[in-house]
Symmetry: C2
Subunit: 198 residues, 2 copies
DNA sequence: CGGGGCATGTAACCTGTTACATGATTAG
DNA sequence: CTAATCATGTAACAGGTTACATGCCCCG
């Protein structure tokens, strides 16, 4: 339930239309939150209904462009929400399910997929590092700047972690099997091992 | 859409009832996937409808206990799915939105929340490390074992990352402000800084 | 005047969460 | 007998995804 507050934040940074927000969510906020334009329009309507933002038709632009800005009630709500405790949302990582499944039924050719994802994570890491060099080369004493840098660093930490993980996974998957066995050539090793703890 | 395949995997590891699966999802699979019992029952019904699993009433147990086991079609489906390419699901990390919001509206007292979460991540890390010591002390040559260890290591990497991140965040949030300013005591620093790239 | 980008939406659907409902068995 | 635990479900809803619908305006 943080989409409304993500939108409030983005609108405080700069009043915008739904369209602009959708575009900006692919940039400044994409490290850790994203939303489709449908979601954004839906949510903007709710925010306005709650009296947290106000829209005004932008006559200078084409189409029925509506620019939203945050009202005082919206700011208060945002400040209230920021300090509210919230447990980390549990992970849902499909790749781990695949690895478990591969462990259960025997080799399924997962290596190429992992290699592909390693490349993706390396590329994303490079993008983040380029942004860091461009925008945060000099360490700033300003609180807001440092926090924004921190969020970017989280993205960097995350991508680094996935690179590291992918390499470990490839090392295991590409390992030659201990004894291939001359006869039946499939899924023999799998059944014997049960999950570790219980 | 990996819940059905997570269930297939768990059922291959050991045929079980819905209730057992719900309990086991809190253990062996909880690092990276979880599901409520409602989801599990709903999904088991679908799996049976698809002809991937079969249920049989367990007379020896109390209640209307139904034990599910995976059929050949289910195994085939699982093998097919494992190799299927799938991009990493984008992150959704509420805490990052909070940090961004704090950067936008000024200090909101986020430190205590971050400290709380640091403690949570440290605790979880300790749990994972204990499991690792207990179940994976000796390095095994068996593929399935090594993959299961790998998945646990992903959990460890993840928790370590969050600890590292939380500490960095606390360092910034607890820093004294450069010039506090004698007059107005609120939200002055925020507005001047815009998001980095655009 | 036609195509492409700007701009705003509706509708249907799937997944996951929360709350509620039901009954069987066993321990005290 | 009663409470706890085992065991299986239904219903309603919220959030997110996909597909579709609509119209404006500028450029060629």
């Amino acid at each position: 339930m943080s989409l409304p507050h993500a939108l409030l934040t983005a609108l405080i940074e700069r009043p915008s239309s739904g369209f602009d927000l959708a575009a900006r969510f692919d940039k400044s906020m994409a490290y850790f939150w994203q939303a489709s334009h449908q979601q954004i329009y839906r949510e903007l309507a709710r925010l306005e209904e709650s009296g947290w933002v106000r829209s005004s038709a932008d006559e200078s632009a084409r189409g029925g462009r509506k620019v939203y800005e945050v009202l005082d009630a919206g700011r208060e709500e945002l400040r209230r929400w920021v300090a509210e405790p919230a447990d980390p949302r549990p992970l849902r990582e499909e790749l781990m399910v695949r690895l478990r499944a591969d462990a259960a039924v025997g080799p399924c050719g997962l290596e190429s997929e992992i290699a592909r994802r390693l490349a993706l994570h390396q590329a994303q890491l490079a993008v983040y590092q380029a942004i860091e060099q461009r925008d945060f080369a000099a360490s700033s004493p300003q609180r807001a700047q440092r926090l924004q840098h921190l969020v970017l660093q989280a993205g960097i930490l995350m991508e680094s972690m996935w690179c590291e993980f992918s390499e470990r996974a490839l090392a295991i998957l590409n390992e030659p099997e201990p004894e291939p066995g001359p006869g039946s050539g499939e899924a023999v090793t799998a059944q014997s091992v049960n999950p570790p703890s219980s």
